[in-house]
Point group: C2
Chain length 174, copies 2
């Protein structure tokens, strides 16, 4: 069965700073027309950064949609025209102070492909030099480092609640 | 540092079938006020379902935001008032025809906590009985079964592009 859903019509409802919202009328495989609510997002990167002691660099950050602080790997949005690997180096430096001399691309994935265009590129960084973090003036986060055993225990106990972080950590401990 | 971001004001921009959009004015730790664009989503479930041969049940589905067919584990949205484990049984049955006699909750996570309230509950189902799938009239998907070796190869080759599916598969092969 051909699963494609060509667009018949598209309406932008909202244009924001981080996301836009549009409604597409699409043609289903059975010929019927259906509406798709689509959040447009410019995408971003996340970094599985391992320090010289084999510990994983993580950040705690308040996430308003979740109304709580989440423990995550460093991550951030792509600037317009920015290459993902440059973005990964920049975000790691800004959020944690670590300079990654080399990055390896692991996966790219859609966090919520049912309604969002967001793609996240995950990088592995394990040749790190310590510099000084300089977060955006309106960005607030705390930096932590965890051993593989601590990570395993946190995953087991449901303390890792962020999808990109679960992907990175499950990949690393596998 | 206290990372909380209390809400000063909240405006609903759009109320849809799958998502709502609201803009919150929040108070940052430095006392400044910032805007947060927040997509409200009722959450859902996904199911890591293993058949009697140890193969993993997967579905291919067109994802309009990605403009392509993605290979995913079975998943679906929670109906209002529905318990996640009941939703997991229902979605697995509807999408693949498999009846899960027992489910084990693995993780719950936020796919996109930067802008979306969506929470996904991941279940493991490995005592399956074969029934008949009955997808929604406007839902189109194809069902596949993959061995662990095939899964490993697909992950390695970047063919798994859906976050919840990467989480489930990396957990299973670890």
């Amino acid at each position: 069965m051909d699963l494609n859903e060509p667009t018949k019509n598209s309406n932008t409802i909202f244009s924001g700073r981080i996301i836009n919202l549009r409604i597409d009328d699409v043609v289903l495989p059975n010929g019927k027309v259906a509406k798709r609510e689509i959040v447009e997002h410019g995408g971003g990167v996340s970094i599985l950064a391992i320090n010289k002691d084999g510990k994983i660099i993580m950040v705690k950050q308040y996430r308003k949609p979740a109304e709580k602080v989440l423990l995550e790997i460093p991550a951030g949005k792509l600037n317009i025209g920015e290459k993902p690997d440059e973005c990964a180096k920049r975000e790691l430096m800004e959020e944690t102070g670590y300079i990654a001399k080399e990055l390896k691309h692991l996966f790219s994935f859609y966090p919520s492909p049912g309604f969002s265009t967001e793609v996240l590129h995950l990088y592995l960084a394990n040749d790190l030099e310590k510099g000084t973090p300089h977060t955006d003036p309106d960005e607030f986060l705390n930096v932590y480092e965890y051993s593989v055993d601590e990570i395993k225990e946190m995953i087991e106990n449901g303390l890792i609640e962020d999808a990109k972080t679960l992907i990175a950590l499950l990949y690393y401990i596998k």
